[in-house]
């Protein structure tokens, strides 16, 4: 797995799609391709309370990426040092194999350039010491770039917090 992952606290997400628009602008994309998307589930009534989830979905930067296997031109690559999966735009021939192969529709079609485009965790920004464009943009701090090794901790902490809240209320 990559060293980093985009972690979303979906409780805080308000489905504003700043992350989506900012990602597109940062990548110079126009109308059409969306390297990240918000999947809306709900609202539905659960035990008398309304529930809705807004789930952020970009590329998972898989361990054994189907997109890499599918690409006939070797355009999709894994960055050695941190496992970021990215498309070398010069090598992309526009065959759409990765788009078909990825189960998450992470690679997207950029009709203007005739090439595939996908989340590269904003590796240029990370290298410059910045957060990914979507993370900085998010108005609720729902998105975070976390180290993969920190992830179990983060989840546990959240779980414990919830548990505590349940007992006092």
């Amino acid at each position: 797995m990559s060293k980093f992952i985009l972690f979303q606290d979906e409780k805080k997400c308000i489905s504003c799609r700043s992350c989506q628009v900012q990602c597109k602008v940062n990548k110079g994309l126009g109308v059409g391709p969306k390297p990240n998307q918000i999947i809306e589930v709900g609202p539905v009534e659960v035990n008398g309370r309304l529930k809705a989830n807004y789930v952020f979905l970009s590329c998972f930067h898989c361990d054994n990426p189907w997109c890499i296997a599918a690409c006939p031109n070797g355009a999709i690559q894994k960055r050695e040092e941190d496992g970021v999966i990215f498309i070398d735009q010069d090598r992309c021939a526009g065959c759409k194999s990765c788009i078909m192969a990825c189960p998450w529709s992470a690679p997207q079609w950029d009709a203007r350039k005739g090439k595939a485009v996908k989340c590269d965790l904003c590796k240029d920004r990370i290298d410059a010491g910045l957060k990914p464009a979507c993370v900085t943009a998010c108005p609720t701090n729902s998105l975070r770039l976390v180290r993969t090794e920190d992830l179990p901790d983060t989840k546990r902490v959240r779980f414990v917090r919830e548990l505590v809240a349940r007992e006092v209320s």
Binding site: S18, Q20, P43, N141
Partner: protein, 694 residues
């Protein structure tokens, strides 16, 4: 890559931004990282500013109409010619009918002091902003209780323990700072109650959502007051010290029991009692949010007053976590920015054409007028003819209810000039269009932001104009030159305008370089709640029995009258906003249009089933004023008495190809009716029928 600080103008909030610029082009726009509560974040509209800059469908050159009004026949003109043309026409109207026959309307903005100066210099009282169509009644409500306008109040979300929102859809009508504060507060345990006839994103985030019958907020509030007073849940110390008219209120709300309100609102009495108790337990750190757009019904001022009164009862005014009075530079003994309106301008003694400020319309705020009365004034020539209209980035055609009447009124004018950045519906009717540079290409007057920590912000040009456009302050100056009033516009450049504003403050434009703003004090300023509150009412207190209202023969507590419920087979048309669009100005933006490209008619599933309407089906919505086609969104997330649509669609200007003819226009359906006390139009007054289109 350069980094420049400026101020966003994709909506009216004006968040501070950081703009990444390369080769005179904008790469990315982020929130200003130095601004507390912004920290780099941006909303989708702010992010999409880049696609506005590059939009091929913007206004590019001055245009002069060649065919009939609204036919879309234009020729390009030089700035010289277009400005000469406008000035000549203004002179003619002024000579024939007097200066008062020129009216002006704009979206209130950083250069409004320039617009006001212009109007006073040509001798007209008829300066309008879009404000009455938004928060006019809220303004009057605040003035009637505290002596301050609504713009002088803020909410301290971050420290609040319980925030109660009445349709104030924070998570879809984003103000970045407020959204950040509210999410942070909720993480720390702040409770959120949300009341709305429709389930919004905010409703899905709330601890408690109450579906209220549309138009009955006042009934809920009277019942809340009833419980709060009966159970003595109010802040006695605060009420004794700062509130006058409490006994009258006590007597007045006696009959309005929770059981009565349950009938009216559909909210169970037990929930109402519970809300009153929970709010009181959090006092004074509780906010009954007084709302923002407050132009729903004809009783709007009393709804807004009831919300402010609830805060007064909780003692939340000027309490941490409550609502506070914004402090200006003057309040902290600093020299405020100079405005052009401070000059010795000619006095204008004419009465306003909308009657605001006269016995006809005594309580609304003459500072911005009641713009929805302008079409009537033009059509009837009562009290006198209005022959010329200058419109600066406002779209009365789509902001004022009743599209057809607006069109007739604009058609009657001798001169219609529009200053805008794109082809608004009003620009389409204009004689002359003067294209303004967009906010990334121009600077504007420096902004003074009052608040707990007053500060100054600067919008400056970060790239050069893409087309043959000019900043609005320059357009006004060039017009003034031609009208012989240039002495009231003592600037020739942005730098000179800034220097005029900053004179005597000890602050220079260079002081903005490091962060894009200058904070005038370091610590938040709260006034002392025992002795230091400065209400601007005659009594110096919060006047529940209002001298402003009573002196004008208007009641402070009118008996509750239900807003007329829709008859069987009809629905109340609710309107609102979402996160992708601002008013009527962003629907054609490529990236924002991609997010939300048309509006849908929300209709309750049971009502839809009766009418044979299926989700996604095309339906026809008909009111007494018009008929529109729109696709249905069938859902149980809306009250059965109502249907809902987003404002700003159903556009008729073909050159705006992305939004042309998409969705339905709410102004085509609405009737133009006003809350005569507060000044807002009743935008949700209209009832409609809906039928499937086969």
């Amino acid at each position: 890559m350069q980094q420049e600080y400026s101020i966003c103008f994709m909506c009216s909030v004006r968040c501070p931004i950081k703009v990444m610029v390369k080769n005179d082009d904008v790469q990315l726009i982020e929130g200003n990282p130095h601004a507390a509560g912004i920290e780099g974040s941006i909303c989708p509209k702010g992010a999409a500013g880049v696609s506005l800059l590059h939009d091929e469908q913007r206004l590019k050159k001055p245009l002069i109409r060649t065919g009939p009004r609204g036919a879309g026949q234009w020729r390009e003109a030089s700035w010289e010619e277009a400005l000469d043309y406008v000035a000549e026409k203004i002179k003619q109207i002024k000579d024939t009918y007097g200066g008062r026959s020129i009216a002006f309307t704009e979206r209130a903005q950083l250069n409004s002091h320039i617009s006001k100066t212009f109007m006073q210099a040509i001798g007209s009282p008829n300066y309008f902003t879009h404000d009455s169509c938004c928060k006019g009644s809220l303004n009057t409500a605040f003035r009637s209780l505290t002596g301050y306008a609504d713009s002088s109040f803020g909410v301290d979300l971050e420290r609040s323990k319980h925030v109660i929102l009445y349709g104030r859809n924070y998570f879809e009508s984003i103000e970045l700072k407020a959204v950040k504060q509210l999410t942070r507060a909720m993480e720390n345990g702040t409770k959120l109650t949300y009341i709305d006839p429709r389930v919004t994103v905010t409703a899905t985030k709330a601890d408690k959502y109450l579906m209220i019958r549309p138009g009955t907020d006042l009934a809920l509030n009277y019942a809340l007051m009833h419980v709060i007073i009966e159970e003595e849940l109010y802040d006695k110390e605060f009420v004794d010290r700062w509130v006058s008219g409490f006994d009258e209120l006590k007597k007045f709300v006696e009959p309005y029991t929770p059981a009565w309100a349950e009938q009216e609102t559909g909210i169970p009495a037990a929930e109402i009692i519970n809300l009153a108790r929970e709010a009181s337990a959090a006092k004074p750190s509780v906010i009954f949010h007084y709302g923002y757009r407050s132009s729903h019904y004809t009783n709007e001022i009393y709804v807004r007053r009831s919300l402010i009164i609830l805060n007064a009862l909780m003692g939340s005014i000027e309490a941490p976590g409550g609502i506070f009075i914004k402090k200006s530079a003057k309040d902290i003994s600093k020299q405020p920015l100079h405005k052009l309106t401070e000059q010795d301008l000619p006095k204008v003694n004419e009465e306003r054409c909308d009657g605001v400020g006269t016995a006809k319309f005594p309580t609304a705020d003459p500072a911005h007028g009641v713009v929805q009365l302008l079409p009537q004034a033009i059509l009837t020539e009562d009290p006198y003819p209005i022959k010329g209209l200058i419109v600066w980035r406002h779209d009365p055609m789509l902001s004022i209810p009743d599209y057809q009447t607006n069109k007739e009124a604009l058609n009657k004018l001798d001169l219609l000039v529009v200053i805008d950045i794109h082809f608004s519906e009003t620009a389409w009717m204009a004689d002359v269009i003067l294209p303004e540079s967009i906010y990334l290409e121009r600077g504007d007057s420096i902004q003074e932001v009052s608040g707990l920590k007053p500060s100054l912000f600067m919008r400056k040009p970060v790239v050069s104009p893409r087309y043959d456009t000019k900043p609005g302050w320059e357009i006004m100056k060039l017009l003034a030159d031609r009208l012989g009033i240039s002495k009231y516009f003592p600037y020739n450049s942005l730098e000179e305008l800034w220097a005029y504003q900053l004179a005597g403050t000890g602050i220079t434009p260079e002081d903005f370089a490091a962060k894009g703003f200058v904070t005038l004090c370091q610590e938040p300023v709260f006034w002392d709640r025992r002795d230091g509150l400065k209400f601007k009412t005659p009594s110096g207190k919060i006047e529940l029995v209002s001298s402003l209202l009573e002196q004008n023969g208007l009641p402070s507590f009118p008996a509750y009258e239900p807003v007329k419920p829709p008859a069987e087979g009809t629905f109340r048309l609710l309107i609102g906003r979402n996160v992708a669009h601002t008013h009527v100005s962003t629907q054609n933006n490529p990236l924002l249009n991609e997010l939300v490209s048309e509006n849908l008619l929300w209709i309750n599933n049971q009502a839809a089933a009766k009418l044979g309407i299926k989700d996604g089906q095309l339906v026809e919505v008909t009111s007494q004023r018009g008929k529109e086609a729109i696709r249905a969104f069938v859902t149980d997330l809306i009250h059965p008495e109502a249907v809902f649509m987003l404002h700003g669609f159903g556009r008729r200007v073909p050159t705006q190809t992305r939004c042309y003819n998409k969705g339905a226009s709410d102004t085509m359906l609405q009737v133009n009716i006003t809350d005569r006390v507060g000044g807002s139009p009743a935008l949700q007054h209209v009832h409609v029928t809906v039928r499937p289109v086969a």
